[in-house]
Symmetry: C2
Subunit: 276 residues, 2 copies
């Protein structure tokens, strides 16, 4: 098992929004450096396009971290592939792979917060079609230096080369999923490693979906060891379970309340929290 | 006067193409670190999308350099704005500005080598219209956190915010020009600092064009101190002028011969070289 940390580069501290964004990003790079020194396996940066987060160009933060670390793997968590150009995204992570001597990974997803769609001129109605097409192109670029490809949402490629090529071949690409069964099945069919985002709800409820992933993968002929599963979840470490829960719950409840308001979810209760 | 170095991150050494791309990029970051230590003012990375260069995602290399340097300014040289999305480009350089505590700059241009156009689905017929429109949007994003804009080559923005915001306000944006008079005039009218690329030909021939820039700027009402001029040119340092010329000319002639073949230029002679 590998253990890592994901960050969305929040633009504020718990107490205040007054922290300087430059200091905040600098501290984040120092945190990644520290994570490398204590032996964590991986550090991921999310992608958002809103005032609250500083991670719209996540690969840039990872590039800075690559220059300060030696062992830790560096990944998107997740890159909003639906709203990106797979050519540019591959170029960035291939460059990250060179900068880090082969420590880059990508987790790509459809995007959980939706502000990237209007910003880059895509329609939410195409939410899944965009992702399917762009994933196809991204995997094509990973496999072939010269790319022949055409689709609906991006100009065709007629043999153009995409450079630089990464040091790792293939560059690891994970599929980031939420709770949509179709996404788990897609990852299995493609034989891609699966990263499950559990940002609320009980982990055990995801078990049938992981089984669906493994079944779809096996039926498509992929070897079991290729069908890796990762979990992105909220975490907090303290001396005892009770201490951790007491320290963590207030901030967690406030964060869930804020997301819940935007997405029409129910809020978090301490009883529900303790049960999971 | 400020002095700096630009690199295109060539994928090969003079002797061989066999160098590892990861080692080459690593050495480049070390060179930027060294340039910072000896007190150079600025380091720039170009943008190409071909096998010979490793700089397609130039901002990534600059981000790695930001984490290893303290004083030196870091810039694109040039970013091919015509084929880029100004939103993504601004996000990257704003992030670079945060990572470097306010040392980012951008030099944006129409692009000298043209492989970016088919790769990103743009037409060479739109060479100048693309640049004019994207420059307008880029400056709009620099000026306003929430952007209202519409154009021909990119979906409209109807008040979306572009984040993160850079530490420097305004983030320095230079206009990179070759030999086109219209480009010099445009930079003057907009009051943008000018970066003149002299990759062949005699520097003194550019004087009338620089005068054109300054006249256009003055007429548009910009203060003279705002109308800064930079030169990007080939350079080589040795103990004496003759030594420098003898060591530099063979490689220069070979490089010019290679570009000349592609673009239908004349090659370089030693007599012409010594005269400039």
């Amino acid at each position: 098992m590998q253990v890592g940390i994901d960050s969305f580069a929040a633009a504020y501290l718990e107490q205040s929004r007054a922290v300087s964004p430059a200091d905040r990003v600098g501290e984040l790079v120092e945190q990644i450096e520290h994570a490398d020194q204590v032996g964590l396996d991986v550090f991921g940066i999310g992608e958002h396009h809103r005032k609250d987060y500083l991670d719209s160009a996540a690969a840039m933060i990872l590039a800075a971290a690559a220059a300060r670390t030696r062992q830790i793997r560096l990944t998107s968590a997740v890159a909003v592939l639906s709203a990106a150009d797979p050519v540019r995204l591959f170029q960035q992570y291939a460059t990250l792979d060179l900068l880090s001597q082969g420590r880059a990974e990508m987790v790509v997803g459809r995007g959980s917060s939706i502000e990237a769609f209007p910003l880059f001129g895509f329609r939410l109605e195409d939410y899944d079609a965009l992702f399917a097409e762009k994933l196809e192109l991204l995997l094509e670029i990973r496999e072939h230096e010269q790319v022949h490809w055409s689709g609906k949402f991006r100009p065709a490629l007629t043999g153009q080369g995409v450079y630089p090529r990464p040091l790792q071949n293939p560059l690891p690409i994970w599929l980031g999923v939420g709770g949509t069964p179709q996404s788990f099945a897609r990852a299995g069919v493609l034989g891609l490693p699966l990263m499950v985002a559990i940002i609320g709800g009980e982990p055990r409820r995801f078990r049938p979906l992981v089984d669906l992933y493994r079944d779809a993968g096996r039926q498509a002929g992929h070897a079991p060891e290729q069908l890796k599963v990762g979990v992105h979840a909220l975490g907090y470490v303290a001396a005892t379970t009770e201490e951790a829960a007491n320290e963590f719950f207030p901030g967690y409840a406030a964060a869930i309340a804020s997301v819940a308001k935007e997405r029409g979810w129910a809020g978090a209760t301490r009883a529900g929290f303790d049960a999971t």
